[in-house]
Symmetry: C2
Subunit: 523 residues, 2 copies
């Protein structure tokens, strides 16, 4: 945004250079830029939009009952559109899959697992967390889906990298890294290395901050900190500190730095949230609002034809082959599968759909009969970060203090996911337990009651965890527009790939575009 040739940023930097305490943030306020964060605007279609014109809402066929497809049908349904949702799988939700006891999970190679989880235990095999600013929370509110905190970062969880004989608590690694950084910068500042950059006042403020930040003493030397945690925590006595810290070189070479920064991103910052009882509460609520009579499960799309005045979608379901006709189509399938469906889509659109590369992604849910991570490790939710091929271990953010609990034993992507995906479930389990045992010891292996794994690249009608675009221009932009009467929707058409919020935002965009056009075409 430009104003008389000065960008806002330049103005603010200018203010910053000249102003006093807080002047920059003050200027932000004056420009109306803080604190008002926003998401993309959305005005849902209203039934009155049609009534004003004396017209009735159009028929829309939605391909795919994942988050994007369901959101489209839900929003269009509010305005009276007649939606039919075609879903090849036998359940709604797509990747928003919560596995409970009795559920079966089949893979493309034919292997089928049946979950044996106990009452109340569930496994979010797909998305597992929602950031505060994400539209997924608005849908939870609107649909009455209760939410609770998802612990995305836990100071008591571990970091374990190859070469370590024992894991280290996240709080310990953080204290050591911050302590040494503070020491190094404080000493460089004291030695005059920053004199050209900092005024004496700046230096004083920086040193004050560094002492807080690193818990370094008045001599600006890091010698450990209570922040590292304790061998015996304070109680009546003052507690027994952990041994250490090791020297800086050690802390750096242990490679704990990556794990310490994982929640810095805007998508990962604490707190995060999850629906109570399993992530699929959102898609189930959407499907309920759309209505069972509009959902056609177990029905594959075999051909898509866009005509001048409508679309014809050939499908094959439990009742055999059929042609579904509608005024518009929203294709909310994975792009790499959509690219293969015959029909009238132009070559450039088809090429665009084949452009993003599906990413292998896998998770395993390990059910234990004892919540040893709470009882023995004092870890209540959160994630252990590791450079092993399991990448992460998630501890459950629900059912605290219960008898059973489900740990996600790996959540990995790309090569690691492909390697696990190529194994039988039995081998995935064995390997995950061998790896996790390095962190948690023998109980990790011996205590498992049951398990389910999902390799998303092997899930029928999905075939990938998410996609990766070579760029956000060209093909990505082309598919934002309809091909005739066929619109495209999905997280893969947003900058929030792999998030339910992406699917929802894309759905809102398509619904808005389609509705504008429908209002024109029905007058």
């Amino acid at each position: 945004m430009r104003d008389k040739g000065i960008t806002r940023r330049a103005l603010l930097v200018g203010v910053g250079a000249a102003g006093g305490a807080g002047a920059m943030y003050a200027a932000m306020g004056a420009l109306g830029l803080a604190p008002g964060e926003q998401r993309a605007e959305f005005a849902p279609p209203q039934a009155s939009d049609f009534r004003l014109r004396g017209a009735s809402a159009a028929k829309v066929v939605v391909l795919g009952a994942g988050v994007a497809g369901l959101t489209c049908a839900y929003e269009l349904g509010k305005a009276g559109y007649h939606c039919t949702v075609i879903e090849a799988r036998d359940r709604v939700g797509g990747r928003s899959l919560t596995v409970r006891g009795g559920d079966t999970v089949s893979e493309l190679n034919g292997a089928t697992q049946t979950a044996e989880f106990g009452e109340g235990v569930y496994f979010n095999a797909g998305p597992g967390r929602i950031a505060q600013w994400m539209v997924a929370l608005d849908y939870c509110r609107e649909l009455g889906v209760p939410i609770e905190t998802f612990v995305n970062n836990n100071a008591s969880a571990y970091i374990y990298n190859q070469g370590m004989a024992a894991p280290v608590r996240a709080r310990t690694a953080r204290a050591d890294l911050y302590g040494y950084i503070a020491e190094l910068l404080a000493k460089a500042t004291d030695a005059g290395a920053l004199d050209r950059r900092l005024t004496p006042d700046d230096k004083e403020r920086l040193l004050e901050f560094l002492r807080r930040f690193g818990d370094i003493g008045p001599r600006n030397t890091y010698e450990g900190s209570q922040r590292r945690g304790f061998q015996v925590y304070p109680a009546v006595g003052e507690g027994t500190p952990l041994p250490g810290p090791g020297p800086l070189a050690q802390v750096l070479s242990s490679g704990v730095g990556r794990a310490v920064t994982v929640d810095f991103g805007f998508e990962q910052a604490m707190p995060m949230f999850q629906p109570v009882g399993g992530m699929d509460a959102i898609v189930r609520a959407l499907a309920d609002a759309v209505g069972d009579d509009r959902l056609r499960l177990g029905t594959r799309v075999t051909k898509i034809t866009s005509l001048a005045d409508g679309v014809e979608v050939e499908v094959r379901g439990p009742g055999g082959a059929e042609v579904v006709r509608a005024a518009y189509c929203i294709a909310a399938l994975p792009p790499h599968l959509l690219a293969k469906i015959p029909g009238s889509l132009p070559a450039d659109v088809r090429a665009a759909l084949a452009t993003p590369r599906p990413v292998a992604t896998g998770k395993i849910g390990l059910e234990y009969g004892r919540r040893w991570w709470e009882l023995e490790d004092r870890i209540y939710g959160g994630i252990t970060e590791t450079d092993l091929d399991i990448t992460h271990i998630w501890y459950p953010s629900y059912g605290y203090h219960g008898t059973r609990g489900l740990v996600v034993g790996y959540y990995n992507t790309e090569e690691h996911a492909a390697a696990y995906g190529a194994m039988t479930h039995r081998d995935r389990l064995r390997r995950a337990l061998t790896q996790g045992k390095k962190i948690h010891g023998e109980k990790y292996r011996t205590g498992v009651l049951s398990s389910v794994s999902v390799a998303w690249e092997r899930q029928p009608h999905i075939e990938g965890g998410w996609v990766r675009w070579p760029s956000f221009t060209g093909a990505f932009e082309l598919l934002q527009r309809p091909a005739g009467r066929v619109y495209f929707a999905g997280d893969w058409l947003t900058h929030l790939i792999a998030w339910q919020a992406g699917a929802m935002e894309s759905a809102r965009r398509v619904v808005t575009d389609l509705h504008k056009r429908a209002l024109t075409e029905t007058t």
Copy 2:
């Protein structure tokens, strides 16, 4: 702990100096020091301890039905001790006070507030959070008190210091501070300022970490980051960044550094927890386990006499004056009040009790009819930090997406608390709203449905938020031992002052000591 003249720490530092990647943490593992964090050991008294001796458990009079007193009675009760708990207030829990609609809160100057909160709304006027390692969680598990996450740190909450025209999000302040720190240290490293301290490998690892830590580019310059948050968050489009960052001098002078470090401490690190439905669930569960028949509410202690073979406690309750006799007494009252009760306590004990200084502490609960902090600010739980006299604003970590909600409008201590405490509730409310409005605007003032404030230094039979000791030697140590047959218990006798866990740990210590003695005296 010493072993052949080498402390563990020296050994580990030695290993650190010589070893490779992870060697220090490896050595910790080999010494059996990681990952096993522990709390102080506790073996609860068992009824069988007496049966083995053919004796019966003694009578104990417990003074005070706060967390410490109730924990004593609960643990002793397990072993069959006959406890009588004397409580001057008309409810159990002491400072663990949860206020709900219909509850009254009286102060020493005579003013009484009646809470008008709606269904499901509560105000934890005392303790509000529990760290994972704290024994309070063990009691929740043992007593079947369900817990949920308490959001102690929220990247979307604000920081507001005087002189700012608008608050800044915690995530923005953190990104700016870390970005500039990373830049300064990376540039100092590149310029050779740390060459005497770091090997080339160390430098490379440090730079790699700093780029992650500060999200600085390959030129080691901080120019903002998505971590700061967005004006419009990414969706279909890539989002609109916030303006800024301001220059380093600005960020330093805005004083946001204190707020960014608040959850670094071992007591404050995320995640934290709270009982579902209000903190008093713990004291109510303890009281239920102890049994109503053992609790004497509305009963003041007027004299404590320790005799050779027992104690006599004079009390005055609803039924008039009475003498309660027992083999032992546990005085779990605030020390400054205990110091004033007549009786046989020796002069040095009395002086020791008068040594710690009570600290003024205050909170106000503001009930709103609309959860605007979620709807408009996208803040789900957490704390806004400010240098105003309100110090903190807490957003509720429960009831997300509900219709009503309760914000803690101040949580302050010392001078600020004393200043608010000296006002009428009406004036406390007015001032709290004037201050909070600086952060949240007019809705903060106009949307309040009802409110309750508590000045702990004015609470009858409590008279302080907690205490501060001049040192943890002398008086503190003296009171760890019984004065004759009178034992002392409370958070004030631990290194966890102001935490329920402190009260519980002290209770466990006293119960252990008393039980050992009782076993000797009853043989």
